[in-house]
């Protein structure tokens, strides 16, 4: 128990005195700020009076150094105009005293009052000419350097991670400076930006003081403080945005400078927010919000394209927020603060959209006509949309959405907007966004959702007929909202489609793929016209290398996005272009015509995909492509052998030349010639070595064209849609083994497709005639394992045919069947990874 301190005869507990002094110090600082701002002598006098009392009170406390500090500080303040350095020193000392008072009777409190600062205070006092009784300034003017010092302090705080307590202890001084002085000084700085600074600074101070008072380490408060700081930042950010919402372009009360200030503050807040969340979705969110602010600035600056860009950005931001809500990662979903931000952003978007709507529809004299036309169109659209929804509800789970659904919904959005039904417009925009998600990300719309939507539309239709009020729709709207939440919640479990990985295991950003593809496809879009021209003129201007690169990009991108038809067509075209490139001869006019037509079909597919419509069937073009490949000569091997012969001949000729050069050994010009010839020979030898080495091994990617030809042939024979994927293209096998294995794999494919096609045709088997085969070769030391994953609506009962059995026996291979989950079956073909036994008479197939 500490002894009580006596003041004016009353026993006062020491803690109470510390608290009182701390509060007095706060008041003193406020008075000093006011004096700096207004220059009122009365305020200065009161501040000095208070400071004198504080100084006197320190004598009652067991804190000698605090008393010395207060004395020196007061003396310095009593001087006339403080210079730039003195102003900073005054603030620094004041803050240290404030902190010391906050530590109260803590043992380590005096550490804040360091001797260095005390000595600087003494030196400053001595440097003022020794007169300790100076008159207060009549017109106190804040020095520009003083303001600059404050500004720098603000900047340091804003640019430093507030969450880290260690930094806080270092930054403790500017925190209080900012908290105390910035709000008053901010009007003198261009660009505004006052509101968020006290928020951050005061929170910092609060954290520090509360930690001190509790006598615990500041680090223990870090987590709680982080939450507080972020919440404060969000609050500030959202309040800034709210101001923007309220400011109608041209009519708002904000001028451009004020707006610039608000935007700058918002950017700072966003940067802080982003610095504390390293998740990708947050990055995107912040990036979009930054864009939003930029575009808003465009509007206020009467930029012509600003408004349109704003709408694009609003939609993207809304979508991102929606996705962020879907994110199942607990590290990203941070609880109430982020949820609050999301809700506020949505509200912001709604409000902004509402205001934009008003500026969109300047009907004027056409108002009545629009109302009548809008109602008429709605009456026609509603039954159609209901019909499509009911049809779709019967097909759940449906792999694709009908194109009509998006089209009708889009038209209804316009109608409702023109009629001014804000709630319904928002609802339909939500429906439309969900439909787009369903198309782009294969989000499965549940039967319940479609049912709720149909019921709501029916009610709207009834309402229109009976001239009812919109409020009656609210229960149906709520039900739809719930159903929508359930649909989105179903998306929480990420499927392989949404996070496909490269061979290296790095996930692909599927959401970024469409934009990436759109930006990088150029040659493919011009290819049909160029090829058609080439048919007539004979020579093509098509850059086949660029075409191949774009086709590769498109094939991989489309596969990642699960747009299988585009992927298949791109890969088929790629095979043909590759064959033509290897051949190096100018293609025949028939080939050019074929390529032109297929490129046209590919562009049509891309256009449909870009418009989020069902991509047309590509089996016809694919069959034509593979027929062409079938007729083409087996290029790689023959070319390779002829190349080898050519190289050997060149080597022989080179040896001959060398021999001749050696005969000229004594000639002065003979040596350089000999060197040159030797170097050429060395290059040729290396090339030959590479060729021969490659001739012994073969990459499995060489199988692609042969396997696809088989697939195309079998698919057309059984009227089945087959998708084949071959993994591990780069795997190299002995050429003889590969040559022997390829016919076996072809036979297996024929067998599987034949069985599946027959099964799909059986009565009672529902679903589309789609068979997916994934071929995954793996080399395990001495064994080659070929896994064939078969996916089909109707899995056949697999009985290995005799021909295949004998072929497998010849290869020393074993075939095992393994169920791979619902609708899947895995065939594992294992065989020794060496050349087959050639001692057995006759080839198997």
């Amino acid at each position: 128990m500490k002894p009580p301190v006596r003041e004016h005869g009353w026993p006062v507990p020491e803690e109470v005195l510390w608290t009182l002094l701390h509060a007095s110090m706060g008041s003193c600082l406020q008075l000093l700020e006011l004096w700096l701002r207004t220059g009122e002598q009365e305020v200065y006098r009161r501040a000095m009076d208070l400071l004198g009392r504080i100084h006197a009170c320190t004598g009652f406390l067991p804190a000698k150094r605090l008393g010395m500090f207060c004395g020196q500080w007061r003396e310095l303040l009593l001087k006339a105009h403080a210079g730039t350095q003195e102003a900073a020193l005054i603030l620094q000392a004041g803050v240290r005293i404030e902190h010391r008072l906050a530590w109260a009777c803590g043992r380590h409190g005096d550490r804040l009052l360091d001797l260095h600062t005390l000595n600087r205070l003494r030196a400053a006092c001595a440097g003022q000419g020794g007169s300790s009784v100076s008159r207060p300034p009549q017109t106190p003017v804040v020095s520009p350097c003083f303001v600059l010092a404050l500004g720098n302090a603000v900047q340091r705080i804003l640019c430093s991670p507030v969450s880290e307590p260690n930094d806080l202890s270092v930054q403790g001084l500017p925190v209080l400076q900012v908290a105390s002085f910035w709000p008053q000084l901010s009007p003198t700085r261009q660009g505004g930006g006052a509101a968020e600074v006290p928020a951050v600074a005061l929170l910092s101070l609060h954290q520090r003081i509360s930690a001190c008072r509790l006598g615990v380490d500041a680090g223990a408060h870090a987590a709680g403080f982080l939450c507080l700081a972020r919440r404060a930042l969000m609050e500030v950010l959202l309040s800034r945005w709210r101001e923007l919402v309220d400011a109608v372009p041209g009519q708002g009360q904000m001028n451009r400078d004020e707006l610039a200030g608000v935007l700058a503050c918002s950017r700072v807040c966003l940067r802080h927010f982003a610095a504390r969340d390293t998740s990708r979705s947050c990055d995107r969110l912040c990036e979009l919000a930054q864009n939003l602010l930029n575009y808003l600035q465009c509007i206020f600056a009467r930029d012509l394209v600003g408004e349109r860009m704003l709408m694009v950005c609003l939609l993207a931001l809304e979508r991102q927020v929606l996705k962020r809500g879907l994110n199942p990662d607990p590290a990203v979903a941070e609880g109430p603060a982020v949820a609050l931000l999301e809700r506020r952003i949505r509200r912001f978007l709604r409000a902004r959209r509402h205001r934009l709507r008003e500026s969109m529809l300047g009907w004027g004299a056409h108002q009545r006509q629009v109302q009548a036309r809008g109602l008429d169109e709605l009456q026609v659209l509603l039954p159609d949309l209901c019909r499509v929804l009911v049809q779709q509800g019967r097909r759940v789970p449906a792999p694709f959405l009908p194109d009509e659904l998006l089209y009708l919904c889009s038209r209804m959005c316009v109608c409702v907007l023109c009629l001014g039904w804000g709630v319904l417009y928002e609802m339909l925009c939500g429906v439309r966004s969900l439909l787009v998600l369903a198309v782009e990300q294969r989000l499965q719309l549940t039967g319940a959702y479609l049912h709720c939507l149909a019921r709501l539309l029916t009610r709207i239709h009834r309402m229109l007929q009976k001239q009812d009020v919109l409020e009656h729709l609210l229960p149906a709207l709520r039900a739809l909202q719930m159903a929508s939440a359930r649909v989105l919640a179903g998306q929480r479990h990420p499927q392989s489609l949404h996070q496909p990985a490269h061979e290296g295991g790095v996930p692909v950003r599927v959401d970024a793929l469409p934009v990436y593809l759109t930006e990088h496809l150029h040659t493919l879009l011009l290819a049909p016209e160029l090829l058609q021209q080439a048919v007539h003129t004979g020579g093509t201007r098509l850059d086949s290398r660029a075409c191949l690169l774009e086709l590769t990009l498109l094939g991989q991108g489309a596969r990642a996005l699960a747009v299988w038809r585009v992927a298949d067509l791109a890969e088929g075209l790629m095979e043909v272009h590759r064959a033509l490139q290897i051949d190096r001869a100018s293609p025949a006019p028939e080939t050019l015509a074929l390529l032109g037509e297929i490129h046209q079909a590919l562009r049509a597919c891309l256009n449909h995909a870009a418009a989020r419509q069902c991509v047309p069937d590509v089996r016809g073009p694919l069959a034509r492509l593979y027929a062409w490949l079938e007729a083409a000569s087996p290029l790689p091997v023959s070319r390779q052998s002829s190349d080898v012969v050519r190289l050997t001949r060149a080597l022989t000729a080179g040896m001959q030349a060398l021999e001749d050069a050696l005969a000229l050994g004594n000639h002065p010009q003979g040596l350089p010639l000999l060197r040159r010839l030797l170097s050429e020979q060395q290059e040729r030898c290396l090339q030959l070595e590479e060729e021969l080495e490659d001739a012994g091994r073969v990459r499995l990617g060489r199988w692609r064209s042969r396997l696809w030809r088989v697939v195309a042939r079998c698919a057309s024979a059984t009227d089945t849609e087959v998708r084949l994927s071959l993994e591990n293209d780069a795997l190299q096998l002995d050429r003889r083994l590969a040559d022997a294995l390829l016919p076996v794999v072809e036979q297996m494919l024929e067998w599987l497709i034949g069985c599946s096609g027959a099964q799909i045709g059986q009565p009672g088997v529902t679903g589309n005639a789609l068979v997916k085969i994934h071929l995954r070769p793996r080399l395990n030391q001495q064994t080659l394992v070929l896994a064939l994953l078969l996916e089909s609506q109707a899995l056949p009962e697999l009985v290995v045919p005799d021909g295949l059995q004998s072929a497998l026996h010849w290869l020393d291979a074993s075939l095992r069947l393994r169920p791979g989950g619902s609708g899947k079956q895995v065939l594992l073909l294992s065989l020794p990874a060496r050349a087959p036994r050639w001692d057995i008479a006759a080839k198997p197939l």
Partner: protein
């Protein structure tokens, strides 16, 4: 007087477009994407989402017929829509309905730009 050909299946949107264009003293022509002989105009406005087909495909066909300065119309355009339209050599995607002044400015600006021949 500049002329604009409107190819849209939504009557309300057509009404809005006509109102906006009449305010500019521009001539409005209406047509159907299924028609084979459409009149040529200074600017063509074509809906992106059609009941049969889509605006991208129809725009390619229109370009083959000699139409220039083709804008696509959508009520909720996505980022990729505009990018894809520009890749195909179209002017871009206009949000309809949109703030009227901006819409008019874009059309005027489009008319002022000398139209270059397509690459292919």
């Amino acid at each position: 007087m500049p002329s604009v050909l409107i190819l849209d299946e939504a009557p309300l949107r057509v009404l809005w477009l006509e109102a906006v264009l009449q305010g500019m003293d521009w001539q409005c022509l209406r047509g159907d994407t299924q028609e084979k002989a459409l009149p040529l105009a200074d600017i063509t406005l074509l809906a992106l989402h059609l009941q049969h087909g889509n605006g991208f495909e129809s725009a390619m066909a229109l370009r083959r017929q000699g139409h220039r300065r083709i804008w696509l119309l959508s009520d909720l355009p996505a980022q990729t829509d505009d990018l894809w339209a520009r890749s195909l050599g179209l002017e871009g995607v206009l949000r309809v309905p949109a703030p009227i002044e901006n819409f008019r400015s874009l059309l005027r600006a489009s008319l002022e730009v000398r139209h270059e021949a397509p690459c292919a």
